[in-house]
């Protein structure tokens, strides 16, 4: 009888550990098929024609609609160029030069990838509307406080994500070529 209980306990523990490790692998996305360029991470396999089983599981689980390789490429960042996680208590400057792509957009999302609930405040900038200096360089400020220039509204408190989407990108979608795209830096400004 005790043997049976022990076996049952072992089986239950096995099921729990199995499910937990799946959750860890796809929710935290252990980095399968990702490529990093500075603070930016691209999930290259998300839109690929032959995603690995973990990528397929993650897409199904979260109901994402990734960009296909023929459409473009998107990058997400949860931390600045120095590696500190984004916080609504701080201002961030996104500084960049022209990016090798036909169009790009920079958007601010909550950590689950939803649009932050901040009413009509600006959550996205496109390459067509941004104010630039004469040499094409630009600076976007992500802050909870409204300001002049390229301002994107961050939440008052808590974490958020930045997403940079390149459409009809001239860069290839392999890890090695992404570095050449010239993605912007993210610098932390004042904190409150």
């Amino acid at each position: 009888m005790t043997t049976f209980i022990k076996m049952l306990a072992a089986a239950l523990a096995g099921v729990c550990i199995g499910l937990l490790t799946v959750d860890m692998a796809i929710v935290r996305d252990a980095g399968f098929g990702s490529a990093a360029a500075g603070p930016w991470t691209a999930w290259l396999k998300r839109g690929a024609p032959d995603p690995d089983p973990y990528t397929r599981a993650a897409i199904a689980r979260f109901g994402e609609i990734p960009l296909g390789p023929g459409e473009g490429l998107s990058f997400v960042a949860g931390a600045d160029s120095a590696g500190a996680r984004f916080s609504g208590a701080c201002d961030y400057r996104i500084v960049g030069k022209p990016i090798a792509t036909r169009f790009w957009t920079l958007s601010l999302l909550d950590p689950a990838g939803a649009r932050p609930a901040n009413g009509d405040a600006r959550a996205v900038f496109t390459s067509q509307e941004i104010l630039r200096s004469e040499d094409g360089a630009f600076e976007i400020v992500a802050s909870a406080r409204a300001r002049a220039g390229n301002w994107i509204a961050a939440p008052e408190t808590g974490a958020f994500m930045l997403m940079l989407s390149l459409y009809d990108a001239s860069v290839g979608t392999t890890a090695g070529t992404i570095a050449t795209a010239g993605l912007p830096r993210i610098e932390k400004g004042d904190c409150r």
Partner: protein, 192 residues
């Protein structure tokens, strides 16, 4: 001696836990695309009709988006295709100035093709989605001229999603971007 015996008694159970955990992990990762109740196909099924294109509902107020990590500057329309009644044609008129893209995904989320307006021939995107068994009949019926302009895509599954994206270059451009989506058609091809 006694400790060694206890360890020996414990070992089969530990092995059992590891084995069960491994099997559960692998099975649930592989089964996720087929079982996930909230994948893109299920979410889009709430508003996207079959073999007909519809714009994704937009409600900026509560921060709802058609899918997580979707670019807020992109307007989305989708068509759930079902090829059991014959091939489905997806066609659009584009101006090659504004960004419009399409991705074609099978029932489990695998993207089997993606394209943008930049690849359009004579300002038209013309795609015929079909099953492998319909290829011959379509080739016989099609004229030479048609064959040149139509991109024939064999879908890996009978059902799936066509996702159309139209970029709003600024908030003022949203209405125009919405109108550009209305230039896209998705319909069952009438029998020749």
């Amino acid at each position: 001696m006694k400790a060694a015996r206890r360890l020996g008694g414990f070992f089969p159970y530990a092995l059992g836990v590891v084995l069960v955990a491994g099997v559960v992990h692998i099975v649930s990762v592989l089964a996720m695309p087929a079982l996930a109740p909230r994948d893109a196909y299920a979410r889009f099924g709430e508003w996207a009709p079959v073999n007909e294109l519809a714009p994704a509902p937009e409600s900026a107020r509560d921060g709802a988006a058609p899918a997580p990590f979707n670019d807020p500057a992109m307007l989305i329309a989708a068509c759930r295709f079902d090829l059991s009644g014959g091939p489905v044609r997806v066609a659009a008129t584009v101006d090659r100035e504004h960004f419009l893209s399409m991705s074609f995904q099978g029932r489990t989320g695998r993207i089997f093709h993606s394209l943008t307006d930049r690849g359009a021939l004579r300002d038209r995107i013309d795609v015929l989605l079909l099953r492998q068994q319909d290829v011959e009949a379509v080739e016989d019926a099609e004229s030479e001229d048609e064959a040149h302009q139509t991109l024939r895509l064999v879908a890996p599954t009978t059902t799936g999603l066509v996702i159309v994206r139209s970029l709003a270059e600024s908030p003022q451009d949203r209405d125009a971007a919405r109108a550009r989506l209305r230039n896209v058609r998705c319909a069952v091809e009438p029998p020749a």
